[in-house]
């Protein structure tokens, strides 16, 4: 399943934040590749730069220096507008707090990214129904997020992330807000997506149980990527 060509290439990536006159380095000259079909877990202490690295790979933050290629496209040279379009096609997001739109049903939330495609209403409906079936929520499609448990909301979020069939799936602490049982459900689902559908997944987590499901584990500490598992 894993291709030899990297789907994500990160070369000499550095990123720092400015607080007043103070420059705080977050990522320091990082270079690594992720192959198609990989399931990578990024771990590390708080403030180590995990989420920053994930945001940079997903094109929602800008690098100071270095190159990030996703599917052969150097996203560091894209404008904001180009990045928005690129994200819509290439990246599926799963957030810690699900980030569903509370006034929309599960169905509508999953349909949201499809509005940016050229699909007809009927085609969108088919895609959404399939995505909700994959996450086993076909019977909850008319429910609002407030009517769903945390685990169900996260499954809707995963369906929303997958519905456009993106190049990569990025997940930032996907189990961070869930109880153990729900967390295991979510991790099983992600593992299934990786194994059965060949999805490339990059996940940031503090949870060693969640990280166990990944096939590659990388540690970040003080902005330096220092070990592989």
């Amino acid at each position: 399943m894993n291709g030899s060509v990297p789907i994500v290439e990160i070369i000499n990536l550095s990123k720092s934040y400015h607080r007043g006159n103070q420059v705080i380095p977050v990522l320091n000259n990082i270079t690594f590749n992720i192959r198609e079909g990989d399931f990578l877990a990024l771990m590390g202490p708080s403030g180590s730069g995990k989420t920053t690295l994930l945001n940079l790979i997903a094109g929602i933050d800008k690098v100071d220096s270095g190159i990030i290629r996703v599917g052969g496209t150097d996203i560091t040279v894209l404008s904001e507008t180009e990045l928005a379009g690129w994200r819509g096609i290439n990246v599926g997001f799963v957030f810690q707090f699900y980030n569903l739109i509370p006034v929309l049903t599960a169905f509508d939330n999953v349909e949201l990214p499809l509005l940016l495609t050229n699909l007809s209403k009927k085609e969108r409906k088919e895609h959404v129904e399939i995505a909700l079936k994959v996450v086993n929520l076909s019977d909850r499609m008319d429910h609002y997020p407030g009517q769903l448990s945390g685990g169900q909301q996260q499954r809707v979020a995963i369906a929303r992330a997958m519905v456009t069939d993106p190049t990569i799936l990025v997940a930032d602490e996907p189990t961070g807000d869930l109880d153990r049982a729900s967390a295991e459900e979510i991790m099983a689902l992600m593992e299934r997506l990786n194994i059965e559908s060949g999805k490339t997944i990059i996940m940031v987590t503090h949870d060693p149980r969640a990280a166990e499901k990944a096939r590659i584990l990388k540690h970040l500490d003080k902005g330096v990527l220092n070990s592989n598992s």
Partner: protein, 385 residues
Amino acid sequence: MYIIKLLIKNTFRHKLRTCLTVLSVAIAILAFGLLRTVIDAWYAGVQASSVNRLVARHAVSMILTLPISYKEKIRQIEGVKIVSYGTWFGAFYIEEKNFFANFAVDPKSFLELYPEYILQPDEKSAFLRDKKSCVAGAKLVKRFGWKIGDIVTLKGTIYPGNWEFVLRGIYRGKNKNTDESQFFFHFDYLNETLKKTVPARADQVGYYMIEVASADLVADVAIRIDKTFHNSLAETLTETEKAFQLGFVSMSDAIITALRLVTFIVIVIILAVVANTINMTARERIGEYSVFKTLGFGGWRIAGLIFGESLIITMIGCTVGIILTFPSANAFANTVGSYFPTFNVTMDTILLDIMFSILVGMLAAIIPTYHSIKIPIADGLRRIG
């Protein structure tokens, strides 16, 4: 359809806040509509003016009179079709608060000159026959509950005494903006009484009303009339009926300016209220907008969500305000309508309501949209949770 559904759901996410904002907009639109209608009512006479009609008055002041003998001289001027004359009578009915416009006119030429005052043929002939008769507008008749054949006694101020008239006709306006609150009677009745009581004031008229054969001749005829009486004891100032009416309106210039200022302030108030609501809403949804951006929604789409919500609020408020304007204007007209010849909510006022609501909706959304688009996605996402 999806986006409209999302906009409507977003708009009513905070029902109380949205309803209060809509109510504020509706009240402001109502106030704006009523104030505009008051201003329009002030200009009703100007709007009802004919382009073919001239008014000649004393060149020094409106309160000075002109000799009745001018009528024949004016008639002989080339381009003049009809000449009539009249005098502001300035009387009231029973007590001073029952004030309305009343004029002594030459009935035959007056009715020819003003076809917009419509009388039944039998009422017209009765009015023309009887020198002590009068006609009144339908609105005035309704106000005092008069009926045909009633004796109406007015108390004179400029021409002191009790003046009795027989109501022979009730005129209706041909157009919506025709003043139906006036009172006309025979100049001869006034003149003959003055000849007996104050002869020095007899054979004098307040103004001449002239119909010109065509609108192209209006300027030339006005110049010729004034030339005719140049260097006489009573020089004339001849102007279009519109300019003459504007002269009256300009006397209330300060009030109209104040009203216009208030209408402007009302718009600024709506803007502040809506801007505050949209600003609060957008600030609360920064995280959500960041999620949208993460999913690939660009700046224009985020702007569409914020502008759309702002416009929905202002347009609902505008609709409610417009609906309320009509019964409110009727109630207002019933209360103080006697001070205004016409009091109608015009299509222009409605269009201005809509235009300003759209403008306010757009302006209110600019700053929240700018902030929502400019905030980095990563910063916006940190506001969640």
